[in-house]
């Protein structure tokens, strides 16, 4: 394999791992605080759509990014309510969010752009710098920073301790004077902002338009990454690069394998790799109270 292909594969790995790592870290915060949101894919897809739409309207990718941020806050408040005051079934609600986002975004494409399945091209966010003609995104250093800061906040600060106590033993946390609902609302908003920005990255940084179902199951791969990383942000960073490598491989292995291999084989790689990772990890124990509604006596 020549060096140029190798360099492009490495840059591709960095690029594809970004939404996986951001999504996984968001879900780690969620589950550590006792929330299980499997609607990552939906919130991501919605974020990608709203970022492209905002950018298209204002002709400015930063406005698009702002819209995605607001969309993340809105979804975070909705899921926060579902997992606290409304005492909802979080798995079912997450499935609902995914179905809604898939239908809604595909419905909006023709209403806005008059085309089916894909939007017009919009301005991308500026890159940090170019390497071998490939864009290196601002999201890359920010993702590494996010993983490091998340690890510090979760394990080295009193807020992190409080957050984790809500996910392990909410009754004890409540007895210690922590408002479990408040912690869960704030966590849900923070994590949904991350999901939404991961989507925005896919819409206006990695790509320059919105395509239906463009997240392609990455929200679910992030969910697998949470388990793989054993609910630890730094391991999510490392695992995300591994998962990202298999995601990037699908775009580049075709040329290496030659014409004889059907394109569907490399396309299947990230999905099969995810299953194999889960099988290799085996049974693991996450935060005890994740996904369970907390009822104050």
């Amino acid at each position: 394999m020549n060096y140029l292909i190798l360099a492009s594969l490495l840059i591709g790995t960095l690029r594809t791992s970004i939404p996986l790592i951001i999504g996984a870290i968001g879900e780690i915060f969620n589950e550590r605080a006792g929330i299980t949101n499997i609607g990552i894919e939906g919130v991501m897809l919605f974020g990608a759509f709203i970022a492209v739409y905002g950018t298209w309207l204002a002709q400015n990718p930063f406005i698009g990014l702002l819209w995605a941020l607001l969309s993340g806050i809105a979804w975070g408040l909705i899921f926060g309510a579902i997992s606290t005051h409304l005492r909802g079934d979080q798995i079912v609600a997450g499935i609902g969010i995914n179905v809604f986002a898939m239908g809604f975004t595909e419905m909006m494409i023709p209403l806005i752009w008059g085309t089916y399945g894909y939007s017009e091209s919009v301005n991308r966010l500026p890159p940090l710098f170019q390497l071998y003609g490939e864009r290196i995104s601002y999201f890359l250093p920010l993702t590494v920073l996010l993983a490091v800061l998340s690890s510090i906040v979760l394990y080295r600060t009193k807020w992190g301790l409080r957050l984790r106590s809500c996910g392990e033993n909410p009754l004890a946390a409540d007895a210690a004077g922590i408002s479990v609902y408040k912690v869960r609302y704030l966590t849900s908003v923070f994590s949904s902002i991350l999901f939404s920005l991961a989507g925005a990255y896919m819409g206006i940084d990695w790509n320059d338009s919105f395509v239906k179902e463009m997240t392609g199951g990455r929200g679910f791969i992030a969910l697998a990454l949470v388990i793989f990383a054993n609910w630890k942000p730094l391991l999510a960073l490392a695992g995300g690069l591994l998962f990202g490598f298999f995601d990037a491989l699908q775009f580049r292995i075709g040329a290496a394998l030659g014409v004889g291999v059907p394109p569907q084989v490399p396309q299947m790689i990230p999905y099969i790799a995810t299953i194999l990772f889960l099988l290799a990890i085996g049974r693991v124990r996450g935060p005890s109270a994740a996904g369970k509604p907390f009822v104050k006596e």
Binding site: G88, M102, M107
Partner: protein, 375 residues
């Protein structure tokens, strides 16, 4: 005697409130859908009228607006009943199986293989035999496909939401790859997907003709039969009892002597078998060939159907009829108003979210009751 009467009455009331919850979730979904329509510049009431009845100006029939529309709604309802049942039997055991879509593709492909590679002289007996054989093929293939994530869950604790989603992609890509490799030179690509050549005449079942160009495909009666069999399996057999017990409380079921792993695997195998039949319906009764993109997401719609039907087989069949009406209605909105048909999926997603909130819905219901008492 009094106690058992009281229990009966309580159960009756509980089932009533569950129906009320489903209806309320539907109403909320439609309210939110109405807001979306209104925000997009359409009149919600007029749009819903076009969806279910029709539009006299453009001559578009709504879901229940005529024989032809009704027969389309019933064909759609057959698919949704089957995928809804497939979701329901796995959700009942507590398996959040999102893999019905993938198992359906595998089942459809198996039915196609049996229909294509076997060719029998045409008479009613061979026709029946061949169709049953193809159905059997789809059942075995679908069951096998869903067995994989079930074993992964039981033996290695692999999260079924993740594995079933990943297997959906694998199923759709694998069948597409085989069709492209082995059959493409003989047929071609249409906008909907890649087509195989047609199956043998002996494996096809023609639809039953109805008045005014309408026709009823065999999928609908078959879906009713599968509904009744599933109802019997769940309510009158030990296996059904074990599946429900595990779903309610796996630990209690285990103390009660139920093999939890076995119940989970059986529920998924059953789910896969029903998904396979759903796929076969398209190949044997509708398209007479395998289309690499035949499903517009029936497997995902099945989740909404099963949840609205409260995971009960009869409720699921009724919910399927309702969701099918939304689908066909949304399809008539597109020519009448230019509103994309994906509106149906958005409304479904909202209904799923609302069914996830039984306590909130109960609070609403009890508020309505409270108003009545005061009057």
């Amino acid at each position: 005697m009094r106690l058992s009467q009281a229990i009966h009455k309580l159960r009756y009331l509980a089932s009533l409130s569950r129906i009320a919850q489903s209806l309320l979730a539907i109403v909320m979904g439609f309210l939110a859908g109405g807001i979306m329509l209104w925000a997009s510049g359409y009149n919600p009431l007029k749009s819903y009228e076009i969806m279910f009845i029709g539009d006299s100006e453009s001559g578009v029939q709504g879901a229940f607006g005529g024989y032809l529309a009704l027969s389309n709604t019933l064909r759609e309802a057959a698919f949704l009943t089957l995928t809804g049942l497939a979701v329901a039997v796995s959700f009942l055991a507590g398996m959040f199986n999102i893999g019905v879509e993938g198992a359906m593709y595998i089942g459809a492909f198996a039915a196609f293989l049996v229909g294509y590679f076997i060719s029998l002289p045409l008479n009613p007996f061979t026709n029946l035999f061949h169709v049953c054989l193809a159905l059997l093929g789809s059942i075995v293939a679908g069951a096998f496909w869903s067995y994989i994530p079930a074993v992964m869950k039981v033996k290695r604790g692999a999260h079924e939401v993740v594995t079933t989603i990943m297997l959906n992609y694998v199923a759709i890509l694998t069948t597409k790859m085989i069709v492209l490799r082995a059959f493409l030179p003989k047929t071609g690509i249409v906008p909907g997907g890649i087509l195989t050549p047609p199956i043998s005449l002996s494996a096809r079942v023609a639809p039953i003709p109805l008045p005014s160009r309408a026709e009823l495909t065999l999928g609908f009666p078959l879906a009713i039969v599968v509904t009744l069999i599933t109802y019997f399996l769940l309510k009158a057999t030990t296996l059904g009892y074990e599946i429900r017990a595990v779903g309610l409380n796996p630990r209690a079921a285990e103390y009660g002597g139920v093999n939890v792993g076995k119940a989970l695997i059986y529920s998924m195998v059953l789910s896969g078998a029903i998904s396979g039949i759903a796929g076969a319906c398209d190949v044997l009764f509708v398209e007479y060939r395998f289309n690499s993109l035949f499903s517009p997401g029936y497997g995902f719609d099945g989740i909404a159907v099963a949840l609205i039907g409260r995971l009960d087989p009869i409720g699921t069949a009724l919910a399927a009829l309702f969701i099918a009406a939304i689908h066909m209605g949304a399809r008539s909105l597109q020519p009448a108003l230019g509103m994309p048909k994906e509106l149906a999926m958005a409304i479904e997603g909202l209904i799923i979210i609302f069914t996830a909130l039984p306590e909130a819905l109960n609070m609403l219901i009890s508020k309505f009751k409270g108003v009545k008492v005061r009057k």
